[in-house]
């Protein structure tokens, strides 16, 4: 029998009991919809994270941290005291000037910038003052800007502030804020407030990462840090991490061997890509859990397909008998029923993915106008072609597999007993 005729017969058979077919397809649809939506959210977040972090520190940045030798204060054993080891809060090992020197001497290392954490009190314009956090702006750090341009790394009087400060501080619009003066207040080591007059170089766009942080240059940060730690043992000139840049022309293998060298010297070196990988692992974990729900729904739908086809085989016993008597072979009978099962998968998957794709722009629209308002360029749902196609084909395959048992049953029917069956 021709493939076309088999398809026509199987489609017709599906239309024979419309309600039953509709319900079975609906079950597949619900499962597909769940999986499609889950992956849509996953892809949306991932593409955003990739874009946010993708160019951070370009290709030539490594973050160096002390190797953590099981310093978990809850679960690890009591550690013997080591006078040479510098510890911060929660007994976290910190890096100092010795480390900077050591790292600087490693072959391939270009620049070493210590990562600094300083506590500031407020950002203010005139009488208006708001709580703030600051971080250091590192060259090539890809922060999305709402307006302005990246600050000059050599100047200690510039700042990039987040979009959310513009309105409360009465700076007008993002564009109008550029070039205006702003006061950064922090406490020095004696608890006295010190104020720095800074110029706004840029307004950063709201993002998932560091959306509340204002950025200043390393030089300014060093000054603040010195003011805050001068003379305090264990805090002055202690850093949780170092940001190291290497030759941008390095290949992946060379970066890998550089990481090995750091590792051999007792440091833990991470590229930005490693950091993205870590974030992606977390996102993937969440997505897998969500996908499980979709898979459970699909599994239930699979039993629905088996049941529907078993009923169809019983209903059409004499028809199968006639076809076999008239010379239809087993393969023909099998394929007609298997196609019927695959079609249920086809329509369920098509509708499930279709509906989720139709809903996506609406959901994205609502999201970006509400809780994602300040996240520039963040689409909650994204549907890359290949994963969607993968889901589509996977579900058709699943439906086909569900149909094999009833299809084999149909193909094995004895024409005589099938014809006697009325």
């Amino acid at each position: 029998m021709r493939i076309r005729d088999r398809i026509i017969i199987s489609q017709r058979n599906l239309l024979r009991s419309k309600l039953r077919t509709f319900l079975t397809i609906s079950a597949v649809l619900i499962g597909t919809f769940t999986i499609s939506l889950t992956n849509g959210v996953g892809n949306g977040i991932k593409s955003y994270v990739d874009r946010e972090l993708g160019n951070v520190g370009a290709e030539n940045t490594l973050i160096i941290q002390p190797r953590n030798d099981s310093d978990n204060p809850v679960s690890s054993d009591v550690q013997e005291y080591d006078p040479d080891r510098q510890l911060g809060m929660f007994n976290q090992t910190l890096l100092g000037p010795d480390d900077i020197r050591e790292v600087q001497q490693i072959r391939g290392v270009d620049k070493v910038i210590p990562e600094l954490n300083v506590q500031v009190e407020y950002l203010g314009v005139g009488e208006k003052k708001f709580q703030a956090t600051v971080g250091q702006y590192i060259e090539n750090f890809n922060i999305q800007l709402q307006s302005g341009s990246y600050l000059d790394l050599n100047r200690k009087d510039m700042i990039m502030i987040p979009m959310r400060y513009v309105d409360p501080l009465g700076l007008g619009s993002a564009e109008e804020a550029i070039g205006k003066n702003i006061t950064l207040g922090y406490k020095d080591v004696n608890g006295r407030i010190v104020e720095k007059e800074l110029i706004i170089a840029a307004v950063t766009a709201q993002s998932l990462l560091g959306s509340a942080t204002s950025y200043i240059s390393n030089g300014l940060l060093m000054d603040i840090n010195n003011d805050q730690t001068r003379g305090v043992a264990g805090l002055s000139e202690r850093y949780p991490a170092l940001v190291v840049s290497h030759d941008p022309a390095y290949s992946d293998e060379e970066v890998e061997s550089l990481k090995q060298i750091f590792s051999a010297n007792g440091y833990n070196a991470q590229t930005i890509q490693d950091a993205i990988g870590t974030i992606n692992t977390v996102i993937n974990g969440i997505l897998i859990v969500l996908n499980v729900f979709g898979i459970i729904a699909l599994l239930a739908a699979t039993f629905g397909i088996v049941n529907t086809l078993l009923m169809a085989v019983t209903e059409r016993t004499s028809e199968i008998g006639l076809m076999k008597a008239l010379g239809a072979n087993r393969t023909t009978i099998f394929s007609i029923f298997a196609m019927e099962a695959a079609s249920i998968g086809f329509w369920g998957a098509l509708l499930g993915i279709g509906i989720s794709m139709i809903l996506a722009p609406i959901v994205n629209n609502i999201a970006t106008n509400n809780f994602l308002q300040d996240f520039v360029g963040f689409k909650l749902l994204a549907f890359p072609f290949l994963p969607s196609l993968g889901i589509f084909l996977g579900i058709i395959l699943l439906a086909f597999l569900a149909g094999t048992l009833p299809s084999i049953k149909a193909s094995k029917q004895d024409p005589i007993s099938a014809l006697r069956y009325e």
Binding site: M1, R2, D5, R16, E319, L326, G327, A328, L419
Partner: protein
């Protein structure tokens, strides 16, 4: 002259032969022997009636002749070829190309149109749909149902249904037609129409006819009659 000789020769040739065939149904505890060692031949071009009471084994015999069932023991030959050497697929092809079937219960797909029902064997063969339609309409015309081509088969009367079945059986231009109680579900008038149609095709196209019936009048129209009683030819 040659034509006549050819006809004579083909008439004498067996198309189906049975050699000591038996058919045993395995039941719970005891086995039923439906057919006990039957030996006979169906000749090319003849019309053969198999008669017997219900339960005599005549339907079982016909099913084996038509390769719908395999004998428990013994050998069957189609065109001199032992069926035991043929695969299920070979038998499927033989049934599709060589044989035509007419059943007492019609076995039509009542939702499908008459044309679709008639062309079903051609669809199984894999004939392109244009040719199927052409030949289907020819066959419907031959049995006087051309005007019903687009109607669902379920709307036909009993006699029309059986005419449709005859058209379906003939569409592949088979060598043998197996008819299982073809008039069993019909009144006298319609029974006569079907009988006339069957024998007309038999004579015009030289088709071998194997009719299973318990109607002596129908059997009397055939060239030859074999009677089955308790699974044996008497």
């Amino acid at each position: 002259m040659t034509v006549f000789c050819y006809h004579t020769v083909t008439y004498m040739q067996p198309i189906i032969e049975t050699r000591e065939i038996t058919r045993v149904y395995e039941g719970a505890g005891e086995n039923t022997q439906a057919i006990k060692s039957v030996n006979f031949s169906v000749m090319k071009g003849e019309s053969l009636a198999i008669i017997g009471k219900s339960g005599s084994g005549k339907s079982t015999l016909m099913h084996m002749l038509a390769t719908l069932d395999r004998p428990t023991s013994g050998e069957m030959l189609i065109d001199g070829q032992p069926t035991s050497k043929l695969s299920d697929k070979d038998l499927d092809i033989i049934r599709n190309r060589k044989f035509g079937f007419i059943f007492q219960q019609f076995f039509l797909n009542s939702r499908n149109t008459c044309l679709e029902n008639v062309t079903m064997p051609l669809m199984i063969t894999g004939t392109p749909s244009d040719e199927r339609k052409k030949r289907g309409l020819e066959m419907l015309d031959a049995v006087g149902l051309l005007d019903k081509a687009k109607q669902p088969a379920g709307q036909l009367s009993g006699g029309q249904k059986q005419r449709l079945c005859i058209a379906r059986a003939l569409i592949t231009q088979p060598e043998v037609i197996f008819a299982d109680e073809p008039t069993g579900n019909l009144d006298t008038e319609n029974g006569r129409i079907i009988t006339d149609l069957l024998f007309q095709m038999h004579k015009e196209k030289n088709i071998t006819l194997v009719i299973v019936t318990h109607d002596p009048d129908l059997a009397a129209l055939c060239d030859r009659t074999i009677t089955i009683k308790d699974g044996e030819i008497v």
